[in-house]
């Protein structure tokens, strides 16, 4: 049994992150930047809470593109997909 008080929440995050990965890929495929921003922003805030700093940093890079007015950074979005693919 884990002594990590966040273990159950981390497991739930991993399940949701897989769903987020699918939503993100679909949004990129159909050209839906608003949805990309929503998913990236959510992950930017939550991934680091569970120790997934690579996902958090990649999500923040996508989010920064929108926050700064540059819009969708496709390369950053690809890096976020790759970070999500590396989830355990």
């Amino acid at each position: 049994m884990s002594n990590d008080p966040l273990a159950a929440l981390r497991a739930e995050f991993c399940v949701r992150a897989v769903e987020d990965r699918a939503v993100l890929a679909r949004a990129l495929a159909v050209g839906d930047p608003d949805r990309v921003e929503r998913v990236a922003h959510g992950l930017a805030g939550s991934a680091g809470l569970f120790g997934f700093s690579d996902i958090g940093a990649a999500a923040l890079a996508v989010d920064d593109g929108f926050a700064s007015g540059r819009g969708l950074d496709a390369a950053a979005a690809d890096r976020l997909i790759a970070a999500l693919d590396a989830l355990p």
Binding site: G45, S46, F50, D63, D64
Partner: protein
Amino acid sequence: MPLTVMHIDDETDIREVAAFALELDSDLALISVGSGAEALAHLETGPAPDIILLDVMMPSMDGPSVLARLREIEGLEKTPVVFMTARAQSEEVERLKALGAIGVVVKPFDPMTLARQLRDILAAADA
């Protein structure tokens, strides 16, 4: 009397971790809601919390819009509001404070210190 915190965030993950974090402080009571509309409905009929922890980016009604609306509710004109955001740039933090927030908590926050962080922000605002 426990310090009553209302946490408003559409992200389930964030609400769950915040609940865990704030429950570490046994002298703190939490009201957790998933949208601005839900928060306003609660605030219009229930007692005012001591502090509101408010996510900035939410669908339908974002944090600044919720803040503007709750200021129109009698008894909530001066309720302390702390924004929570993943966007930590100093210009963004200053923009949020200029809207009337007493502080900003940056995501990801440290669950072990969130309650203390809120109490410190409150104490600094009261000083």
